[in-house]
């Protein structure tokens, strides 16, 4: 074996050398774990399809690779002080891929279409606060809201609010999800089975861009196979890479490992209405009983940071709250004080993927040390969502401890707190699966939405975070890192903190 192997390698490198002749086209292949679900921006709810749509479509505003708001098809906006009226000034000289011009009418069309309940589009909730949208002139559009919504610009920076060509919708109807036409740097070529092909938009409004000629999204479900694709050069960017496999790529001379914090928080939602979790001392005790550093190390091979607020650090208006340091003795004392000197038994419910199961087992082991016996219940996605949301009255909830995760898809604090921590967000309405209810938190969340003034909003969310941290409705665990890997030849490719693949406009492939 030892003697034959180098010869085989030599033969291989010769074969590769012969095959890799001069080719001018810059073809980027992205290896992703799943197939896309569609390409109609208003009808998507998965990160993968949304990030593909964002290569072809643009919004009035966008979030850059650091989750900062940037103007895209709008040049600027003015908001009324009560956060009820927003006027956007649009960019001139932009055309859709199908040749029709981008203008205020197209913006109104996109918003009206996505927000119309009769169209049954999945992102309708992004537009529920809109009363009506007016075309002021060709390049000015005014949106009037039913009630104050301070996070509105973030709201329309969401991929659900990307601007579609009205002509394409009129032509294809629902089928537009397979015939996308936007204003973005890349335009649609084909999508069949698990392969999406895009090509450069020759008439893109930013002169000289984009630099990459074609982009191919390939669905490769197996983690090891995706890594092999990057190693052989069949792909130039792959994601995600599981934490336990990232080490194998760190020393490669041709591959860069991408490792940055995300805004994806993991926590255990405790049913605050149910014994024993209705006692704040018990919730506090459980927070002291779990070693968050060890959680990061054991479950995520170190690629996770402990949570120090109900919100992740990269979300706007985040404020560090502190920590519940690992202290099993204190946890035991608190449990005893609450009337559980010998602990108690409970069921911890969650999904069934490897990382989630590992996380649940970790929590199980940690709590066992303070006398709390957990039964771990991993469920298939469909069964789990049914169990979470088929609840009419709070007392009927069948889950007492839920291993959960959240990422604010608008990149704003509102969506980072309201769905899980607001009284009016009890299931089935939204995802307040801790059944947490505190009037102080509710008032702060409402205050955060009632204005566009950043300093007032910051104050409101500071109050909300402090209250939630004190009440400890969850066992606060960690914030995931985004892990990906790419060829050193590729520049300008990121995984944004909200876990979406992001290509800067000037991204290039050597």
């Amino acid at each position: 074996m030892a003697s034959i192997f180098p010869r085989m390698l030599l033969a291989a490198s010769l074969a590769l050398g012969a095959a890799g002749g001069a080719h001018a086209a810059k073809d980027l292949v992205v290896g992703v774990p799943d197939n896309l679900t569609g390409l109609d921006p208003a009808d998507l709810n998965d990160n993968l399809s949304q990030s593909a749509a964002r290569l072809m479509f643009e919004g009035l505003y966008m979030l850059d690779e650091h989750m900062k708001l940037q103007p895209q098809l709008a040049e600027s906006y003015e908001a009324s002080e009560d956060a009820k009226e927003f006027v956007f000034h649009l960019r001139h000289g932009v055309t859709f891929h199908d040749g029709t011009p981008f203008n205020a009418a197209a913006v109104k069309f996109s918003f009206d279409r996505a927000g119309n309940p009769e169209n049954h589009l999945k992102r309708q909730s992004l537009f529920v606060m809109i009363d009506h949208t007016d075309v002021v002139d060709d390049y000015t559009v005014k949106v009037v809201l039913k009630y104050p919504f301070g996070a509105f610009v973030n709201d329309i920076a969401h991929p659900g609010a990307l601007i579609v060509s009205p002509k394409s919708v009129q032509e294809y109807g629902k089928e537009v999800t397979r015939h996308p036409s936007g204003t973005g740097p890349y335009q649609f070529v084909s999508w069949s089975a698990d392969t999406l092909k895009l090509k450069k938009n020759e008439h893109y409004w930013k002169p000289g861009l984009p630099k990459i000629d074609t982009i191919t999204y390939r669905g490769v479900p197996e983690n090891g196979a995706r890594i092999a694709m990057l190693q052989t050069g069949e792909a130039q960017f792959i994601y995600p890479v599981p934490p336990e496999m990232i080490k194998s790529l760190e020393h490669s001379p041709t591959i860069t490992v991408f490792n940055e914090p995300s805004i994806f928080t993991r926590y255990v939602a405790l049913n605050n209405l149910r014994k024993p979790f209705n006692d704040p001392r018990v919730r506090e005790a459980l927070n002291y009983a779990v070693d968050k550093q060890a959680f990061a190390k054991v479950v995520f091979s170190g690629y996770s940071d402990p949570m120090d607020s109900p919100m992740p650090p990269l979300l706007g208006f985040y404020q560090k709250q502190g920590s519940y340091p690992y202290d099993p003795a204190k946890a035991k004392a608190l449990l005893a004080e609450a009337g559980y000197p010998n602990g108690f038994e409970a069921t911890l419910t969650g999904g069934n993927n490897t990382l989630v199961q590992r996380g649940m087992q970790f929590v199980q082991q940690q709590l066992a040390a303070v006398g709390v016996t957990l039964k771990v219940e991993p469920l298939e996605a469909g069964v789990l969502t049914a169990k979470m949301f088929n609840v009419q009255k709070p007392e009927d909830a069948s889950i007492v401890m839920l291993y959960a995760g959240w990422s604010s898809s608008t990149g704003d604090a509102d969506w980072g707190m309201r769905p899980m921590l607001y009284t009016k967000a009890f299931p089935p309405v939204l995802a307040n699966l801790a059944w947490y209810s505190n009037p102080v938190t509710d008032a702060a969340i409402e205050e955060g939405l009632s204005t566009t003034d950043p300093s007032k909003r910051a104050g409101a969310y500071a109050k909300a975070q402090a209250q939630v941290w004190k009440d400890a409705p969850w066992i606060f665990l960690g914030v995931d890192h985004n892990l990906a890997a790419y060829s050193k030849k590729l520049h300008g490719a990121f995984i944004r903190p909200d876990q979406q693949f992001h290509l800067t406009a000037d991204a290039d492939l050597e």
């Binding site: 909730s125 390939r218 197996e222 190693q231 069964v383 049914a386 898809s409």
Partner: protein, 306 residues
Amino acid sequence: MLDYLIRRLAGTIPVLLAVSIFVFLFVHLLPGDPARLVAGPDASPQDIAAVRADMGLDRPLVVQYLRYLGQTLQFHLGRSIKTHQTVAELIGERFMPTLLLTVFAMLWSVIAGVGIGVLSGARRGHWQDQASMVLAISGISFPGFWLGLLLIDLFSVHLGWLPTGGYGGWQHFVLPAFTLGVGVAAVMARFTRSAFVEITAEDYVRTARAKGVPERRVVWKHTLRNALIPVITLTGLQFGFLLGGAIVVETVFAWPGLGRLLVDSVAYRDYPVIQAEILLFSCEFVLINLIVDVLYGVVNPEIRLR
């Protein structure tokens, strides 16, 4: 023969009808609300209600089934809940990759399996037999995903001879077809060997030997031909199973086949796709059974007479 075929075909109709009812009910009785899954984890009740109405899921179950049956009979299989693509198109673009992969995997594995089985049976107790059976047991025991990853690591990453996966030219077929066929070849070898050994003990084989028929003719004509009946049965079954899509191999090699589509569809509660796929697999099995019956007759004229 034609009369027999027509009768057999007619007999499949109630079977398929029963399958359609079973599939429809099974899928609807699965826990999990498809509207909730489609709308996503952060959807509001309005979003979910909109999705439910859009999918027709707010109507009574019987109405949904009759509508489904009527449309199926006209070959309107509906649209995927997940991608809005027509189910026919969705299955169409994955059928060929699965069929071709199945054909290539079966081709080499049946030839290799039967060959090894005959060698092993004819040289029973010799080292050829023992070596073959060690190979066969290893083939059955080796996990497909691990073999697949090892092959990718050697032939794609280290040697650079073959692509890591995906559907394309002949190079793309080599590793998945090999990985998929290993288990089949191994089972086939074991099966052929035992059928062969059994037939060898029959009186007519002894008679043939006694009257001086050359050994090669005894092996290939008298013994193998009769040993082929169970082998054909097994081939048919394996073919049917593989046509259902090999989930592990399709996953490791990113193969756009029917198995992965089914798994994805179940995870997403994509009812129209699940129903169409299971119906398709049932039809395939019915068809394969017919072909197997016909082949019995070809191999053994005695069966044709019955």
